[in-house]
Symmetry: C2
Subunit: 401 residues, 2 copies
């Protein structure tokens, strides 16, 4: 009966994450970077205050599931229908180009590998990490500039939502392929069946939920049953279809995203997430990060990874936008707006580590990409818009946290 | 890597707890009773859908800590000062009489035991479970009757708050005594030192928090740092003073209870609690409850426990109220209002189980007491007030859940 020992770890994780998260915000770096740094600091690499444990791992996993569920909940399917084919093509290219360039980057550093080999999957996974745009920082920057509701702004937001969906599908297929016990045909079949199941099950659940939600708007039961659905679909995905649990959680969010109460569910999830599960997840990345693995090769790779990660989105999204008739400057703005990466990139990387596909030393590269892209994007957008109206900047900075 | 398996358990626990919790509400029984029943149903005793695991135990423990923290946060120290000595004496008697009668009840069933023996502690623990009033249901009943702000109402609320504090002190001392490695003097010393530490540390933390809170009212950091304090004090209590972690959590709540933002912190804690940790705690009581332990002796003891539990509060609180000058009818109302038990009784019982003092089969008695007292109290109060104004009853019933 030493259950109380975990409270020490939790207290340290929560307080350190919040302090460094706030510190990161102050210097205009994403909070998650601060939280990961807090994890490195308190973990075995430096202070040794907190050790990684099965329990923390399990809590972190719940954190991941809740983050993916929330990401799904924020999908606006109706908006996607409106922006239509243009954003879809930009998103496709914004997934495809980083995936290919990321794969090639790995080959360039460590040599090409034949299709299906372990090294091949490593390379593809590096590309996969680069696929998911995290549009939050871009949205904030565009709001500051007062440009969020212009065509460029809405196109970026729509494309970023679609590239999450496409990214999840690609991730699902790649992880499926990697399972050594299954052949390619079986994997494709199960993945296909899973998405068919999700569409059929999703429509039924959505209809039921809609009726229930209308009757019990803004009551506790709505987010609670939503969370149960999220856990259930995560479990079913892994257990019966061999599909990543994060895919299940994300789709559970998408299913509920068109509910009138979806923002209400998101809010309740956010609180559970930022109070305890989120900090545990981000800090645990730092805690698991062994600094002694650090070497020149990793640093060089990380720098190249950041450059390729940012350039590939600009090329992928910008080129297609230009071909679709956007002016050169606007196409560039769209490309730059799609550059930012965030939590999802980390979660994909973590999945690679836990499946044994990637070595955890690559997390340095991912963290660096998140920091650099989040710092550079708002600056670049400001330059591109060449805009001087910073009037409402102060207001948005004081947002709660 | 079978982390996703826990999602199945969580999904089942969350959905079953909510359904049976809502069902319990419908038939005017406390929600926690429904959640415990859900646990029995899905646990190994019946359906076998969920097995108890270390992870669930740890999650339940976090749930307990958050519930105790919230209980502490709801303490209104300023109100206590106002109602003063009358409520204090009622509370003291309301702790003392049930403690003694509960102990005697155990002796009556299983024979008297000498001071300091295992059976003696068992008996005292049975008494201890009876000490904490859970005033929520009484408050709701008094609100329906429109009597909450009259002297009887305010006295009940104040006495219930004070009896929590006294109950926690008694619990702390009893658990301290039970530790076989420590002698009586050492236990008393450490318990005393702990409370001195809490007062000194509490005042410092409170002052710092107050300044910080004034600067950052209603920002996420306030509940987050509060939760960290709760975990930290829970850990420090057990680790350095040999005092129960729930005492630490409760005191952390009391320390922050006078903050302007205490209701804000409570709200955020409530959400984390009802979304996941609370259901896991209550359901896990049911999951651990082995129905095959059921026998006539336990049933008889449980019935006697319920009668003694309710009568002892009426006697203890009512007599002192009468002596203080309350009219006979008002004294009876106060006694009846103090009868209800809730989560804290369960948490004390769980502590007894996990310390090996009590056998978990006694949880039946506790659950029964919670259900019966919560159902009987509102009815009795209505009869005692002999009141017909049920006008706002419908409104309060539709409260969110």
């Amino acid at each position: 009966m030493e259950k109380f020992l975990i409270f020490k770890s939790l207290a340290i994780i929560i307080i350190a994450s919040k302090l460094f998260g706030l510190g990161a915000r102050k210097i205009k770096v994403p909070q998650v970077a601060g939280e990961i740094f807090a994890g490195i600091l308190i973990g075995p690499s430096l202070l040794g205050l907190v050790q990684y444990s099965d329990f923390l791992g399990q809590m972190a996993e719940i954190g991941v599931i809740i983050i993916m569920f929330t990401a799904g909940l924020e999908t606006r399917l109706s908006e996607l229908r409106k922006t239509g084919i243009k954003a879809l093509l930009i998103a496709c290219s914004g997934v495809f180009v980083p995936l290919v360039l990321g794969t090639l980057l790995y080959f360039a550093f460590y040599g090409a590998a034949p299709f299906g080999s372990d090294d091949f999957y490593k390379a593809v996974f590096i590309g996969l990490i680069l696929t998911a745009t995290s549009v939050g920082i871009t949205v904030e920057a565009l709001k500051e500039l007062g440009k969020i509701s212009e065509t460029v702004g809405t196109t970026i937001v729509s494309a970023a939502i679609i590239d999450d969906v496409i990214g999840i599908v690609v991730l699902t297929i790649v992880i499926g392929f990697k399972d050594p016990t299954q052949d390619v045909g079986h994997t494709l079949l199960m993945t296909g069946l899973f998405f068919v199941f999700c569409i059929v099950f999703g429509i039924i659940i959505y209809k039921l939920f809609k009726i229930y939600d209308r009757k019990h708007r803004h009551t506790r039961r709505i987010p609670i049953i939503g969370l149960a659905l999220c856990f259930a679909l995560s479990f079913v995905a892994e257990k019966y279809f061999g599909v990543a649990d994060i895919t299940g959680a994300y789709i559970a969010g998408v299913i509920l995203s068109s509910l009138k109460d979806s923002a209400y569910i998101t809010r309740k999830m956010d609180i559970s997430s930022y109070m305890i599960f989120g900090p545990v997840f981000f800090a645990s990345i730092g805690i698991q990060n062994d600094l002694s693995n650090f070497n020149t090769s990793i640093i060089l790779f990380s720098l190249a990874f950041v450059v390729v990660g940012m350039a590939s989105k600009v090329i992928g999204c910008g080129t297609v936008a230009r071909l679709e008739g956007f002016k050169g400057m606007d196409a560039l703005k769209i490309g730059c707006g799609m550059m930012t990466r965030g939590e999802v990139a980390l979660i994909v990387a973590q999945r690679g580590f836990s499946l044994g596909i990637l070595d955890s030393s690559y997390s340095t590269a991912v963290i660096l990409l998140i920091i650099v892209s989040s710092v550079v994007t708002p600056i670049l957008l400001k330059v591109l818009y060449n805009d001087k109206n910073q009037s409402n900047k102060e207001v948005t900075e004081n947002v709660q946290s």
